[in-house]
């Protein structure tokens, strides 16, 4: 395989709450994302999946561990040049399209903000042309640039959020629960849009979600997180047809299946996490792509 676009090695992210209390949100997570692929990160709330996304894009300062992106080290202290490279090539789509768009800015200016900062255009006509093209790409119309976020529906706002991420032509997009606030039928539209964009621009996604059925549709490989540890990682096929870790099995069994007669008699697998100690566990290799923490 070619070089990974993003390599996360033994990432730790701790938050000091008080003198004698530290939240250990992420404990030694390692994974790689290759150009043009989608890596799904799943786990229950509190498992650290959002924290990982935010540490990678450097909204947090990682406690320890190394992150290599686009052949540069982006963990530790950043110099100006690396920071600009990181901000330009990695973008984020946030969970809540209501609160992630500035209500006082027009959609066009929200999308154009990155262009302004990185001075990517030569004149205003070019800037507006880029924004109009972006709006069209995500299924909005160029006239929407003059509107404010509150004038859009939830699905349209999430499209605007995607346009904002895409306008910088990033190599990696971190999508943090970007569909869980949307209705089922709109979720499908947004996921299809993300797939189309990937086919066209060859960008990679880190797709963070707790809904396994959607993750299955979009991801090439999946990592399962629990209590800040990556308990299992493998190709989508491997995770869904041959889950090894008991936590993965319980997560898979909790997905409700839209078939009443089957669903009513199905008992989910219960996973008791009260006395597991992942720090003593070691990573076992199942296949070249499939690893389990046991």
């Amino acid at each position: 395989m070619n070089n990974p676009l993003l390599k996360v090695d033994n990432l730790h992210q701790h938050f000091k709450i008080s003198r004698n209390f530290t939240v250990k949100a992420v404990n030694g997570v390692s994974f790689e994302i290759f150009p043009g692929e989608t890596y799904g990160l799943v786990g229950e709330s509190g498992s650290g999946k959002t924290t990982i996304g935010r540490s990678i894009i450097r909204l947090y300062d990682p406690t320890s561990g190394e992150i290599i992106f686009n052949r540069s080290k982006i963990s530790g202290t950043l110099n100006n040049k690396t920071r600009r490279m990181l901000r330009k090539n990695m973008q984020m789509i946030f969970q809540d399209p209501m609160s992630s768009l500035n209500p006082r800015k027009k959609i066009g200016d929200i999308i154009g903000e990155g262009l302004d900062i990185h001075e990517i255009y030569s004149d205003v006509t070019e800037r507006n042309a880029i924004i109009a093209e972006m709006l069209q790409k995500v299924g909005l119309s160029p006239a929407h640039a003059e509107r404010y976020p509150h004038q859009f529906s939830g699905g349209q706002r999430q499209r605007a959020g995607i346009a904002r991420a895409l306008v910088m032509k990033p190599k990696l997009i971190i999508a943090d629960e970007c569909i869980s606030a949307l209705d089922v039928s709109i979720q499908a539209q947004v996921v299809n849009l993300m797939k189309d964009i990937q086919a066209e621009t060859q960008c990679a996604y880190l797709f963070i979600a707790h809904d396994l059925s959607m993750v299955k549709y979009i991801s090439d490989r999946i990592g399962v997180l629990h209590l800040g540890y990556l308990v299992e990682t493998g190709t989508t096929e491997e995770i869904f047809s041959d889950p090894i870790h008991p936590y993965t099995k319980s997560l898979l069994s909790a997905v409700p299946c839209p078939n009443p007669r089957v669903e009513k008699f199905r008992r989910p697998v219960v996973y008791d996490s009260s006395n597991v100690n992942y720090s003593a566990a070691t990573v076992q290799k199942i296949s070249d792509t499939h690893f389990v923490l046991l």
């Binding site: 529906s153 209705d183 299809n192 549709y217 909790a254 409700p256 078939n259 009443p260």
Partner: protein
């Protein structure tokens, strides 16, 4: 049906006054809830499912006008009662509600115990100590560990799943007959969701509750519901038993909803999505409100609203496709395969 009907809604029609004008949110809704059964109201945001249930619970906002309709609870028309009577006799004691977001539906400045006993002290002749004992008992019933300690906790000391259990305990505190759950698990993740749904089902059996779920998640519906009503643009467009809706859906909108739901068994790498978005009810739709998003739409859909066509005693759908003169259409391939698979998995 020979079961006792505990709640029936007839021809409910509600408009909201907004700055932009009148929004016709509910355009004639009828349904019945047999005692002890579970009914699911399914639809996208803005389809009117929450408004319908708020009308039933007497919680409509001040800018809402009920133009017509009746809501019978045990033979009593709730819409003729004054707000005061409704509060005194119905809310909480007969019909209780579990809200979507356990983060915002609890008072952050009150202990869990005080919030559970509040309703009991208001509605029942019960001493404060008895109420407190009952609060502990309720917390035990909803599966919270160390209930004696928990009653002194504040909401922020609990996790999302625990908070939703507290909300359920509050709803059950006055022993209601009907429990309305408005997206009770949307804010929770899948493992917690499964446990909360099991809990509600369990309580339903123990206490003989009738439950109404408002949800857009068809997986949840499949798990809990006996009857399903699919809503679109302020109307019920398909109603039936859960088997009829999942194995033999007739309305193109229901087809779309089923197809948009990712299915762990499909190999298709593209999801079906219903094109477009729901109509804006500021402008009264002419004809079938779904016509613009319906690839099976016919000329009549643009002119006239389809009535409910009866398919069986329990199953009906509002689409002109069921009219005897309508042309026979072929189901989309992916839907046909999926229905076949679902029937096979269910041994039908």
């Amino acid at each position: 049906m020979n079961e006792k009907i505990i709640l029936s809604v007839e021809n409910l029609d509600i408009t909201f006054r907004t700055n932009a004008g009148l929004v016709h949110a509910i355009r004639g809704v009828d349904f019945e809830l047999p005692a002890g059964k579970t009914l699911a109201l399914v639809g996208e945001s803005g389809s009117g499912k929450s408004v319908t249930m708020k009308a039933v619970a007497g919680l409509l906002d001040d800018n809402a006008t009920v133009n017509s309709g009746k809501i019978f609870y045990n033979g009593l028309d709730l819409l003729t009662l004054s707000k005061r009577d409704l509060r005194k006799k119905i809310n909480g004691q007969q019909i209780a509600m579990v809200f979507q977001d356990p983060m915002t539906s609890l008072d952050p400045t009150m202990t869990i115990g005080a919030q559970i006993t509040e309703g009991m002290l208001l509605h029942q002749k019960i001493s404060a100590t008895d109420a407190k004992d009952k609060a502990v008992e309720l917390l035990k019933l909803v599966g919270l560990n160390e209930p004696e300690k928990r009653v002194k906790n504040y909401p922020h000391q609990l996790s999302g799943g625990q908070r939703q259990r507290v909300v359920i305990a509050i709803a059950l505190s006055c022993e209601p007959k009907i429990l309305i759950c408005d997206e009770p698990t949307t804010a929770l993740d899948v493992t917690i969701q499964a446990r909360i749904l099991d809990l509600i089902q369990d309580l339903q059996k123990k206490m003989g509750l009738s439950v109404i779920y408002i949800t857009h998640d068809l997986g949840v519906v499949a798990k809990v519901a006996d009857f399903v009503n699919v809503m679109y643009a302020g109307k019920i467009i398909e109603a039936g038993t859960v088997d009829e809706i999942f194995y033999d859906p007739r309305h193109p909108y229901t087809w779309g909803l089923l197809l948009a739901m990712p299915d762990l068994d499909t190999t298709e790498d593209r999801l079906y999505s219903i094109p477009g978005s729901p109509p804006n009810l500021l402008h009264e739709p002419i004809g079938d409100a779904f016509a613009a998003r319906n690839r099976f739409a016919m000329k009549i859909d643009e002119r006239e609203q389809p009535p409910m066509f009866k398919i069986s005693e329990t199953h009906s759908a509002a689409t002109w496709l069921l009219h005897p003169d309508a042309p026979k259409i072929e189901l989309p391939r992916e839907l046909r395969l999926r229905l076949e698979r679902a029937r096979k998995a269910a041994n039908l």
